[in-house]
Amino acid sequence: MSTGITQNRRDLRVSKLRAANRRTGFGLLAIVLVFFFGFFASRLVSSPDVSIAVVGVAVLLYLGVAIGRHLRR
């Protein structure tokens, strides 16, 4: 039976990992969609200067947060 327990534990670990992967993946996908549609939205809302500034700030914030988070670890 002991192998069965290890098996279960391994399955649990694998499914946890899969869930974590999915979370990360969907998080990143959400960013992609926000950039894609946000880009159109910002273009339709206002003048080019404003829209490019909005997209620019969004990207910089994203990069700052995304890269900054990992630097500490």
């Binding site: 990992l17 974590a20 992967n21 990360t24 993946g25 990143l28 996908l29 960013i31 992609v32 969609l33 950039f35 894609f36 880009f39 159109f40 273009r43 080019p48 490019i52 997209v55 620019g56 990207v59 910089l60 994203y62 990069l63 700052g64 995304a66 890269i67 990992h70 630097l71 670890r73």
Partner: protein
């Protein structure tokens, strides 16, 4: 940098379902194995490199001497456009993803990529996209002929080849985004116990940051070409001046993607070089942390300099000054990287196998490309040199002598691990020297042409540019042909050769060298413990 206490190669085949994988062509179509997919990516990249290279042959043949000899101006424009698109989206980017697929799981001690099926999908999107680009040559009106930058209004006027190009870019963009999500997730979630981020090989670091860049800019490119598409067919006027749009807006958006794209292409190359140089200097990488910070700094700065591609469009003076200063600032982190590589070699115990030769060739020529980049970043000089052959010389020094040479170095470096055989060192050396010399014969004269004022993307030119163009063409034919040496060397290595030990390079330290050569189909199914 990381000492490994429990180097376990996974020969155990815990998941039996993988043991019955299909054979023949179906093995490659259905594979979810990161090594198979890495191989697919690399072969696809090389195929596209040859296709794009053939287009360069056409270009250089037409430019061999003044006058129109071989092709029509329209077809010439289609060649320059497709050469650019295919080399960037077909050869360089997939090549980098190929390396990532092969090496990242093995370098961080993961069994595979996080999303194995998506990995298969993101590769198999590429061949149809490439096919669409090639088919566009044969549709009425021909392929897109507005340059790889696709500037409207010219690209709004063109035939359905342009639509195919737009769709191809959409598909390749989707593939890149999926690949990036996969790579980020793999690196963040699947590292072996003890493999902290700051212990990862630098190649993984550069790819992590590259993947973030891709996720940020690929949707923007997709948005820009979608707008182009709606301008073409649905009566919108985002960029169409005749309908009240702003053609310059496209340039802003395109380069907002395009400049980070430059770093997307070069950062993985930095990573490969940062693996090779310490190995063959038998010394740890100098300033690991500052290398990571430099890559991050380059990534962030890359979003603030896009308008330096547009200095002659008539931006406001204050804007121009800002973009010039920001552009010049990139020289600092780039310089830090070069100095760190030098310091890594300093007082090492250097040997000059083929990967190291390519790394040194990379360093030498990339620095030239960096300097010409600095020259182009200085606005008054850009006014004299913008859209001339100087620019062509500059980006080929960065893309070809930079990224491509790093890829060659990477291939020779890891071929023993991939195939289990040592490559033929003297063939590789021949490949290096032919490439190095002929590259310079091809592209160095382009600096002179640009300084003398020859515009780029012209099928014909005035007589004072004749001589350097001929030199350049001869160099290009030679450079292209010498890549056959590479193909031969790789095939020879795959088919046989001296068996490679697990760690053929005595200076190598990262995790992949703890696996036997060739690397087993399934590796690190039980994660190694890194201390």
């Amino acid at each position: 940098m990381s000492s490994i206490t429990q180097p376990i190669g996974g020969h155990e085949h815990a998941h039996d379902d993988h043991a019955h994988h299909p054979t023949g062509i179906m093995r490659w179509v259905t594979t979810t194995n990161h090594k198979d997919i890495g191989t697919l990516y690399l072969w696809f990249s090389f195929t596209m490199f040859i296709v794009g290279g053939c287009m360069a042959f056409v270009i250089r043949a037409e430019l061999f001497e003044p006058g129109l000899q071989i092709v029509t101006p329209e077809f010439f424009n289609e060649m320059t456009t497709l050469h650019g698109l295919i080399m960037i989206f077909g050869a360089l980017m997939p090549g980098a993803v190929g390396f990532a697929n092969w090496m990242i799981p093995m370098q961080i001690g993961a069994p595979d990529m996080a999303f194995a099926r998506m990995n298969n999908w993101s590769f198999w999107l590429l061949p149809p996209a490439a096919l669409m680009l090639l088919i566009s040559l044969f549709v009425p009106g021909g392929a897109a002929g507005g340059g790889w930058t696709l500037y409207p209004p010219l690209t709004i006027e063109q035939g359905m080849g342009m639509d195919l190009t737009i769709f191809a870019i959409h598909i390749m963009g989707a593939s890149s985004i999926m690949g990036s999500i996969n790579i980020i997730t793999t690196i963040l979630n699947l590292r072996a116990p003890g493999m902290t981020l700051m212990k990862m090989p630098l190649f993984c670091w550069t790819w992590l940051i590259t993947a973030y860049l891709l996720i940020a800019v690929m949707p923007v490119l997709a948005g820009a070409v979608t707008m182009l598409l709606t301008d073409r067919h649905f009566g919108t006027s985002f960029f169409n001046a005749a309908g009240g749009g702003d053609p310059i807006l496209f340039q802003h958006v395109f380069w907002f993607f395009g400049h980070p794209e430059v770093y997307i292409i070069i950062l993985p190359a930095f990573g490969i070089i940062s693996e090779i140089i310490p190995t063959f200097s038998r010394k740890p990488l100098f300033g690991y942390a500052s290398m990571v910070y430099a890559v991050a700094a380059i990534a962030i700065l890359s979003f603030m300099v896009w308008a330096h591609h547009m200095f002659t469009t008539g931006l406001p003076t204050a804007g121009i000054l800002f973009y010039m200063y920001a552009t010049m600032l990139i020289a600092v982190p780039t310089g830090v990287k070069v100095f760190n590589w030098l310091a890594t070699m300093w007082k090492g115990s250097i040997s000059l196998e083929a990967p190291m030769m390519f790394a040194l060739g990379f360093l030498f020529l990339f620095v030239i490309g960096g300097f010409t980049g600095l020259v182009l970043g200085i606005v008054p000089l850009d006014v004299a040199l913008h859209d001339t052959y100087y620019v062509v010389a500059h980006f080929h020094y960065v893309m070809v002598a930079g990224t491509l040479f790093a890829f060659f170095g990477g291939v020779y470096y890891w071929l023993p691990k991939w195939t289990g055989h040592m490559y033929d060192e003297s063939l590789a050396k021949w490949h290096f020297w032919l490439s190095f010399i002929l590259f310079n014969v091809t592209f160095f004269p382009m600096h002179f042409l640009g300084l003398a004022g020859m515009p780029r993307r012209v099928p014909d030119y005035p007589q004072q540019f004749a001589d350097w163009n001929m030199v350049s063409s001869i160099g290009a034919f030679g450079f292209g042909l010498s890549q056959l040496v590479f193909l031969y060397a790789v095939i020879k290595c795959i088919r046989g050769g001296k068996p490679a030990p697990a760690k053929p390079w005595d200076g190598a330290t990262s995790l992949e060298w703890t696996l036997p050569s060739p690397a087993p189909y399934h590796s690190f199914e039980t994660p190694p413990v890194v201390r």
